[in-house]
Symmetry: C2
């Protein structure tokens, strides 16, 4: 890790900069895939799966039988773990569901917001070396609580065309309607445009590699909504002199093992914490199976020593980390000062991995500084809030002059006519 | 208006199609403006304002003195109307603010969402023939309720460089921090990248022409969040045999006068309503100052006769209108069947213009079918919901096995280490 001691304020902007990627060539590649899937459907999906991901998808939809037999291949221990995670995620997300409340803004004028679930949602679960079953839970549970009419899932299978049993088990457990063995930009294109096998959806959720992310950005321009912009995962840890260096090192490593482009920051006002965490990292790193990946990520990562906690929180808010651990004695005070972050973990016994899997919060969070303006996935993500209003004749009398006056100021005469024609109408005539 | 009687289901998709625009050339033009503003700042902003909008902006920021004297140029009547609108919009939006609720998902595991206002927001208020002061209210009131740290506003002035007094009065009334006499794509670029005069913001709000809309889309790819995708304004009216044709005609015209690309739909199960509304439109159109604009919009517009109300609501939900008026006797029943719409107006005395100005609901709404997945602007738009969690040692014991088991299934060993290192630690040691 790179160590910065008492950097000048003028250097801070550079310290919180994320690596920038050249996206133009990627955009052209992905646009071609999307156009091809939009015009040729399943045939294009199959050919890209074979070309890029090395598998022959055959029938794109996973059969009910495959989903039905998946539980046989999942250990009782993993099933129990999934139940715990499922219950906590459900508890936390169910509490967020809002009921419409009718507000009489002025006598006779009733207005309300009604959360209505998005009808068709598509969940993307990335492949890679291991099955990301937690992503199924984090996207699928709120989609089912919301009551989205159709919930489909796309995920790349192994090169044998088989989707991991723990993914299928989780999908079956949640009652996800249909599962497709398709990954990459072609999966995003299929869910945006629809193919013979895969239905088009209204909103696409889920993380993915740079192809998937670019595909989501492109289809969101005119076709379909997406959850949040995605980038490499990040963690900032705030420590003081009394933080536990072993705990902190374990958290930094758990972020670093995600991928070589992950970024971790340790921000502290304690000089001695730097060496302690550094040597703990070296000690713990050796035994990790993904130590090469973690080492690469650590090379991009930073330990930043600042003068005091006021500066620490100022830098945190400038960085706007996806994950933020505050492991100081006064973590409750500092928590109040968080302005920009995706998800915040407080105290010594709240590792980030708790939120990744089982505490109940969602792990799909804004990266790359987007926490300045975006929330992580929550129940709002699966609803539209439609406004309704019902105005009585006397209600319209109460606000009619105001409408007419502003409409006239905006030179929109028909807008004021719509009021005056009603107010001059005699119901008894 | 074009009349469609009992169209086949197979024709419905074409009926709800919006006009598509060729965006490629536009994108290139706007990208150049953005790049130029990003690199040359104020000088570029000034030159585009002069080139495209015909004014010499001089000092870009509107002075405190100009804002201070604006009330002298606004009539007492308009001030009163603004007060009524302001009070109702504030009432409706204040009720939406959510308080954090701490949830103990399992013993010792406390999780909560905290809405934190977005620090810096930029509001865009379009120019054109008349000052759209209502847009100042609809964007500025929720931004101030949320407590966004810095709220700035960009709007194009007249060719004399002067911003309309009603805009400045409204901005001053709301306590908007700074106002800039800048419009078009250059205003969006300035708020995204910052210039010498105009600060960069975290999120940009507001409607605009196709240049502004494209600029918002481009800067949202990697720089700044935006409110919702924008397109030409739309209205669908649902009528039955007993609806008031004069009221309906007034509503259709109030939408049509917005611009030649506005779209209005009348959807009904009553044959006789077609002629009645049609002749009312002819009668009312003649006296409108914007009758040429409204006539053009009506040329793109449709009256659709269907077999029954079940079909009517099915087509409405397929169309996903920005504005929906339900003017049938059983409007409450049909309201329950709305799945896709931005804002819904119920009964005979609820014209769409009420929601545009003064009932309290927001008028910034999803167009172009985006109501399938997006809400209109509401308090959520000005907040991030940051999740927090605080876990005790015993809480971590309660979920630790589940975290470790799922982390191992995902082959993320450092994730499970972050738990096991804590649970094997003895606080008393």
């Amino acid at each position: 890790m790179n160590i910065f001691r008492h950097p000048e304020k003028s250097e801070w902007a550079a310290l919180v900069q994320r690596p920038r990627f050249e996206l133009h060539a990627l955009e052209q590649t992905v646009q071609k895939i999307i156009d091809d899937v939009a015009s040729r459907g399943d045939a294009a999906v199959r050919s890209y799966s074979k070309k890029f991901d090395g598998y022959d998808a055959g029938i794109l939809e996973v059969s009910e039988e495959e989903i039905g037999t998946a539980p046989d291949d999942v250990s009782a221990e993993l099933k129990r773990a999934i139940e715990v995670a499922h219950r906590n995620i459900r508890t936390f997300h169910e509490k967020q569901v809002q009921r419409p409340e009718v507000i009489e803004t002025v006598a006779g004028v009733h207005c309300w917001q009604k959360p209505v679930p998005i009808s068709k949602v598509g969940l993307y679960v990335p492949g890679g070396s291991a099955p990301l079953l937690s992503t199924v839970l984090m996207l699928g549970i709120p989609a089912k609580i919301a009551g989205c009419g159709e919930v489909i899932l796309c995920t790349p299978p192994g090169s044998n065309g088989i989707v991991d049993a723990s993914i299928l088990y989780s999908a079956g457990r949640l009652g996800i309607d249909r599962v497709f063995r398709v990954g990459g930009a072609q999966a995003i294109a299929a869910m945006a445009y629809g193919t013979e096998s895969i239905p088009a959806v209204n909103k696409i959720f889920g993380p993915g590699n740079q192809y998937v992310t670019m595909a989501k950005q492109i289809v969101s321009k005119e076709r379909v909504a997406i959850d949040i912009p995605a980038g490499p995962s990040e963690l900032a840890v705030v420590a003081d002199h009394a933080s536990n260096p072993a705990f902190i090192a374990s958290d930094l490593l758990s972020q670093a093992e995600h991928g070589p482009d992950s970024q971790v920051l340790l921000i502290t006002d304690s000089e001695k914490m730097i060496d302690r965490v550094h040597s703990e990292i070296q000690r713990q790193l050796g035994s990790l199976s993904r130590k090469e990946i973690a080492s690469k990520a650590l090379n991009n990562s930073k330990i930043i020593l600042l003068n005091d906690q006021r500066e620490v929180m100022e830098l945190v808010n400038m960085y706007a980390p996806e994950h933020l651990i505050i492991a100081t004695r006064n973590y409750s005070d500092l928590a109040e000062q968080v302005i920009n972050a995706g998800s915040v973990f407080l105290g010594d016994y709240t590792p980030e991995s708790a939120g990744d899997y089982a505490s109940g919060t969602n792990h799909t969070l804004p990266t790359n500084g987007w926490a300045h303006a975006f929330s992580g996935i929550n129940m709002d993500s699966f609803f539209k809030k439609i406004t309704f209003q019902e105005i009585s004749r006397s209600g319209l009398i109460n606000i009619g002059d105001s409408i007419i006056t502003i409409a006239n100021a905006e030179e929109l005469q028909a807008h004021s006519n719509a009021v005056s024609i009603r107010l001059s109408h005699n119901d008894d005539a």
